[in-house]
């Protein structure tokens, strides 16, 4: 039986052994169609016979609503923003992600700590502090990064009708203008994502510029390639990856 790994700091009361599931993450900025892609992938995986549990950022029972409320009231600052996200992740990690991994499910995460770290860095938080803070996160087996340049992203977000205050980084005072702020903020995020994709070996970068079905095909290919490789490893003498 294989085990999972924590990024930096373990949760001492949750041992890492006896874990047959896989953690798959889909990352990408707003407007990449990430959530749609994730739900299409879930359906496809289930058709293949895999048990899938999906999880998403700020969806914890404990603080999901509190984060939404705090964002509406603009009462979060850089530090509390990061800490609230970490609380949300810890709650889902213990009640959802780790139990599912131990039960042999594929956990499909719509965004993960990479989003949180990118947002924190763009907001000026210390990158080392962020990596330590989210250091209790389980290392994903595969991260599919849906890549889109800011030029392709703008028309997509505009066509949804509304630019969101937080998606524009308006809390960061890039400027008074919502559009200018949006471009500056999203460009900085994309830069961070690109950097992380280059620095982490578990990342697969997928071109998300084309139609959703084309992107989905690429995503399925990447996941299938990984799972086949994993199946071989699981069948070997040493089951640990």
């Amino acid at each position: 039986m294989s085990r999972f790994r924590y990024f930096r700091h373990h949760m001492p009361y949750l041992p890492t052994d006896a874990c047959s599931g896989k953690l798959l993450v889909i990352e990408g900025t707003d407007g990449t169609g990430r959530s749609t892609q994730a739900s299409m992938l879930k359906e496809w995986l289930e058709v293949q016979g895999y048990g899938v549990i999906d999880t998403g950022w700020t969806r914890s029972k404990l603080v999901g609503q509190a984060i939404t409320d705090a964002k509406l009231g603009h009462s979060l600052n850089r530090l509390t923003y990061c800490l609230m996200y970490a609380t949300d992740l810890a709650d889902r990690m213990e009640y959802q992600i780790i139990p599912a991994l131990k039960s042999g499910f594929i956990v499909l995460a719509d965004r993960y700590i990479y989003t949180a770290i990118a947002r924190g860095i763009v907001r000026g938080a210390d990158p080392e502090w962020l990596r330590d803070l989210y250091g209790f996160a389980v290392v994903p087996d595969l991260v599919c990064y849906l890549q889109l340049g800011v030029q392709e992203l703008i028309p997509r977000v505009l066509s949804t009708g509304k630019i969101n205050y937080w998606e524009s980084g308006m809390d960061m005072n890039y400027g008074d203008d919502l559009y200018d702020s949006f471009v500056a903020y999203q460009s900085a995020l994309i830069h961070e994502f690109d950097r992380m994709a280059g620095a982490n070996s578990n990342f697969v970068t997928l071109d998300a510029r084309e139609a959703p079905d084309v992107t989905q095909k690429r995503l399925r290919n990447a996941v299938a390639a990984y799972l086949e490789e994993g199946a071989v490893a699981r069948g070997g003498v040493n089951g640990e990856r």
Binding site: H9, L62, L79, L83, M84, T87, A90, E94, D132, L133
Partner: protein
């Protein structure tokens, strides 16, 4: 900003630590009296939940769904909120900030709950290091008799009931608090907290506290800090404006 060096602000940060019933709050209140009487600008703060996470913590505690990690992170969020809104502004303005409990409380409590010691310390890396940290050390029996005689009922998390140490709150509280004492002992060495024997009389302890506070304030010069400086700068400028020669140059 981190725990490894002195903070860059003109104010002073004095904090007290110790388990419940160590008498630290009494000592801090008396120290505040002492400082105020001398005319120092003093700001007091304690570890109370800010609105930001109060509702969440309450809900989590009621349903007993808080894990060691979420418990720790909610308190860290709360601490950060309080640091930004209550502690940093007076510290930057050159005031003396007195804090009843600080990050060390989390280092002790969260580790007893099962969090990784290194991780907890890293999480609080954003906090400024106090100029004076006093640790009120008291044996577990003394603290328990003080707490249990004076208070109506122990709360679940306060007694560490989530750790399943004992079936009843009083026994659980004793085990929980003695484990926290063990952690405090490590923290005291690690961060150079000044230990005070909390079994001594209130008066004797306070005498020592005041001496330590005086020492910590030896290089404190409130007249050089921002708001005070402002008064001095404004005054001559006003005089200048009243000067006829000055009028001409305008």
């Amino acid at each position: 900003m981190d725990f490894h060096g002195p903070h860059p602000y003109p104010g002073k940060l004095i904090i007290v630590e110790g388990i419940d019933g160590s008498g630290k709050s009494t000592q801090l209140q008396l120290a505040m009296r002492y400082l105020k009487t001398q005319g120092y600008p003093v700001f007091f703060t304690e570890w109370n939940s800010a609105d930001l996470v109060k509702k969440v913590t309450k809900k989590g505690k009621k349903k007993m769904t808080l894990t060691p990690m979420t418990f720790s992170l909610l308190h860290a969020t709360d601490f950060a909120h309080r640091l930004i809104n209550n502690i940093l502004p007076p510290l930057k303005a050159g005031m003396i900030v007195l804090a009843d409990r600080y990050a060390y409380t989390a280092f002790a409590r969260d580790v007893v709950r099962g969090c990784d010691p290194t991780w907890v310390r890293k999480v609080y890396g954003f906090a400024p290091r106090p100029d004076l940290a006093l640790y009120f050390n008291v044996p577990i029996d003394v603290s328990c008799s003080r707490i249990l005689s004076g208070r109506a009922q122990l709360k679940d998390y306060e007694a560490g009931m989530d750790l399943h140490l004992a079936p009843d709150k009083v026994s659980s509280f004793k085990i929980f608090q003695s484990r926290i004492l063990t952690e405090y002992e490590k923290i005291r060495h690690e961060y150079g907290l000044v230990e005070i024997d909390a079994t001594q009389s209130i008066g004797d302890q306070q005498q020592l506290v005041r001496r330590l506070v005086d020492q910590a304030l030896a290089d404190y010069h409130p007249d050089e800090t921002a708001p005070f400086q402002l008064e001095r700068v404004v005054a001559p400028a006003t005089e200048l404006n009243l000067d006829p020669e000055r009028e001409e140059t305008l």
